[in-house]
Structures are given as structure tokens and as C-alpha cells.
């Protein structure tokens, strides 16, 4: 019983962190100066704001006894969806950033350093 309650509390905490991440990401998307930094904010929204709450939902479902066997379906589906987003979302932003960098479509300023540009000048593989 206590274990179930702990699972639910941890799950709720993860969902709360997810809400914070989503809020931070939406502020970042509006306030950040250029495309690449806004992409970073978007990734905060997908990993912090989608994967973490999904894990939280899985824990909450596992802690909810009254769902019977269905709690395993719920938890399994949430975890699988979380893993899929965790794998696919960073690749999406990676590909977007690379395409924008190669095509020169987005202004890079303000910039601290640009490893991709250095690699390309040296003729290395991207």
C-alpha cells in the first residue's frame, strides 16, 4: 500500500516537472534569439515535457491498484511511447539543425563556437 502511494507521488512529481519544462520551453521558444537556441527550447519541451510525464503516468498507473490488470497495459504503453519519443525527438532536432546549418537559412548570431563549421572546413565527415 505504501509502495503504491510512493509510486503515485513520484509519478505526480514527474508530471509536475514536465509541466515546468513545458512552460520553460514555451517561454524559451518565444524569447530565445535564433533558430538553434529555439530548437534547444523545443527539445526541452519534448524530453522534459513529454518523456518525463509519460514515465510519471506509467508510475502512477502501476501504483493505481483499482485499475486491475489494465494498469500494466497503461504503464507499458506509456513507457513504450516515452522510449520512442526519447529516441526520435533528439534525432529530429539534430537533423533540423544540420539542415539549417548546411543551407545557411538561419542566422547563427549570437554564437560562441561552431564545431560543425570547423569540421566542415577541415573536410571531415559530418
Amino acid at each position: 500500500m505504501i509502495l503504491n502511494a510512493i509510486l503515485v507521488y513520484i509519478g505526480e512529481a514527474l508530471v509536475a516537472i514536465g509541466v515546468f519544462c513545458d512552460l520553460a520551453a514555451s517561454i524559451g521558444i518565444i524569447r530565445f534569439p535564433n533558430f538553434y537556441t529555439r530548437l534547444h527550447a523545443a527539445t526541452v519541451g519534448t524530453i522534459g515535457g513529454a518523456v518525463l510525464p509519460l514515465v510519471g503516468v506509467a508510475l502512477m498507473a502501476l501504483g493505481a491498484d483499482w485499475l486491475g490488470n489494465y494498469r500494466f497495459f497503461l504503464a507499458g504503453a506509456s513507457i513504450v511511447a516515452g522510449i520512442l519519443i526519447l529516441l526520435l525527438a533528439p534525432v529530429g532536432s539534430h537533423v533540423l539543425a544540420q539542415a539549417a546549418h548546411r543551407a545557411g537559412l538561419a542566422p547563427r548570431e549570437p554564437i560562441a563556437f561552431d564545431h560543425l563549421e570547423e569540421d566542415r572546413r577541415r573536410g571531415g565527415k559530418e
Partner: protein, 265 residues
């Protein structure tokens, strides 16, 4: 505040208030009459009802039961329209050679590795949506749409030629699509054929036994809910939709120079 921001703000407020005004005027029409709502009640009551075996369907999922059992003929014609569109696309591209020869560069190693992982993950999720369609929300069309995501990813990340080199040729995809469609058609008339062979009364699109039509698809197997024809329809629709979308994506990914020679003839 700039004038453009003010304009956005005012237009949102006007939109909300005009929507509320139109709704209050009765612009959405009258509420559905009581007998229509009774129909919905009947669907919910009969989707899974062991007390009324002659009237109920064979799965837990009301939407799948309505789509493939209660109103199966509707869905059959919808599927026919969908495949009519795909056949039209194939007809436009007739004679175009789709070859897998030539080099493809593809995207960065990060993107390629994750796409390779997804070629297992995404079809698994799609199959679970299709095979669970009679128990949980989902079904054949939805699963096919999910499975098509991996085709899009492969075409984007590895290139269309890589897809063909892996064996997804036009002829093979057409074969899968035809298998799926034949399966749907066969499932629709299977009980009728069996009934005719055995000299019993039976109906088109029959799933469970009806009065004076004793044949039907199995409802349960070893305590597990099979869903009767719902499972078969979902499975074949999954195959057909995946193949149909894959074919259209393959054709759409062709470059202009490959098609031009055929179009100009």
C-alpha cells in the same frame, strides 16, 4: 503595443465572441432527435453483450465493432474509394521505371542509426495497434498509418533507392496491397461461402451467428477474445493500408527527370 499585435488581439476577441453568438443563435442546428441518440445507446449496449448473442458484436471496442461489423458495408465502400485513389495514382505513373541503382548519401550517422532502430520499433507498435484493434482504440487503418511513418523515415534518411534495394519494389508492394484487399473481400463473404457449401443460411458481412444462420467467426479461443471477423478485417486492412501508403510515397518521391520521359510521350 504595436498596431499588428493589437490587430491580432482584437481579431481573437472578435472571433471568440462571434463564435459564442453564432452558437447561441442556434447556428449549430438542433440537437439530434431522441431516436438518433437511442441508436448510439444501442451500439454501446450491444458491442459486447453475452446476454444478447444474436445482436452483439465480438470485441470490446465499440468503434471497431461499428466500423467493421454493424456498418461493415459502409467501411467496405470507403476502403474501395481509398484504393480507387491509389489505383489512380498508379495509373498516372504507369510506365515509369523505378530503379534502385545509383549511389545514395543519406543523412548523418546519428539519423541513420536511430532510423535502423525504428525499423523494428515502429512496425511493432503498428502491429500491436492492429492486433489489439477489437479490444482497445485503434484498428487496421490507424496501424497502417503508423507503419507508414517508418517508410517516410527510410525515404528521408536513407533515400528512396535504399528502400528499393532492400526489396520494397513496386511489384512486391502491389502484391501485399492486393493480398490485403483480397483478405478483406474474402473475410466479408467467408461465412456466406461456407454457408452455401454446407447448405445453410448465411449473410454477407456476417460475424457472429444470427437466428436461422448458425455459422459465425470464433468469438473466444481458450478464454481469449478473438473478435471474430474484426481481428481479420483489422489485420488485412493493416496490410493493405501500409502497402497502399508505401506505394504512393514511393511514387511521390520520384524526381521530375525520372517521370518526365514518360509524361512527354
Amino acid at each position: 503595443m504595436r498596431a499588428s499585435e493589437l490587430f491580432v488581439l482584437v481579431s481573437i476577441i472578435v472571433f471568440i465572441f462571434s463564435l459564442a453568438y453564432i452558437t447561441s443563435l442556434g447556428g449549430l442546428g438542433q440537437l439530434p432527435p431522441v431516436n438518433v441518440r437511442l441508436l448510439a445507446q444501442r451500439y454501446l449496449e450491444l458491442t459486447w453483450n453475452p446476454l444478447k448473442p444474436f445482436m452483439s458484436s465480438s470485441g470490446y471496442e465499440s468503434v471497431t465493432a461499428i466500423v467493421w461489423d454493424f456498418r461493415g458495408l459502409d467501411t467496405f465502400f470507403e476502403t474501395a474509394v481509398f484504393y480507387g485513389a491509389i489505383i489512380a495514382a498508379i495509373a498516372i505513373y504507369r510506365g515509369v521505371k523505378i530503379s534502385g541503382k545509383g549511389r545514395t548519401t543519406g543523412m548523418s550517422p546519428i539519423a541513420r542509426t536511430i532510423t535502423r532502430l525504428s525499423t523494428i520499433l515502429i512496425p511493432t507498435v503498428a502491429a500491436s495497434i492492429a492486433l489489439h484493434g477489437h479490444l482497445t482504440p485503434g484498428g487496421g487503418f490507424q496501424a497502417g498509418s503508423v507503419a507508414t511513418v517508418i517508410v517516410v523515415l527510410i525515404i528521408m534518411v536513407f533515400g528512396r533507392k535504399a528502400l528499393i534495394r532492400k526489396g520494397m519494389t513496386k511489384a512486391r508492394i502491389l502484391l501485399f496491397r492486393s493480398l490485403g484487399l483480397l483478405g478483406i473481400g474474402f473475410t466479408a463473404v467467408a461465412i456466406l461461402l461456407a454457408g452455401t457449401a454446407l447448405g445453410l443460411n448465411a449473410y454477407v458481412f456476417q460475424n457472429q451467428p444470427k437466428p436461422f444462420a448458425p455459422l459465425g467467426f470464433p468469438k473466444l479461443y481458450d478464454g481469449m477474445i478473438l473478435g471474430g471477423s474484426l481481428l481479420l478485417f483489422n489485420l488485412f486492412e493493416f496490410i493493405a493500408v501500409t502497402a497502399g501508403f508505401t506505394l504512393v510515397l514511393l511514387l511521390l518521391s520520384l524526381g521530375e527527370e525520372e517521370v518526365r520521359g514518360v509524361v512527354e510521350k
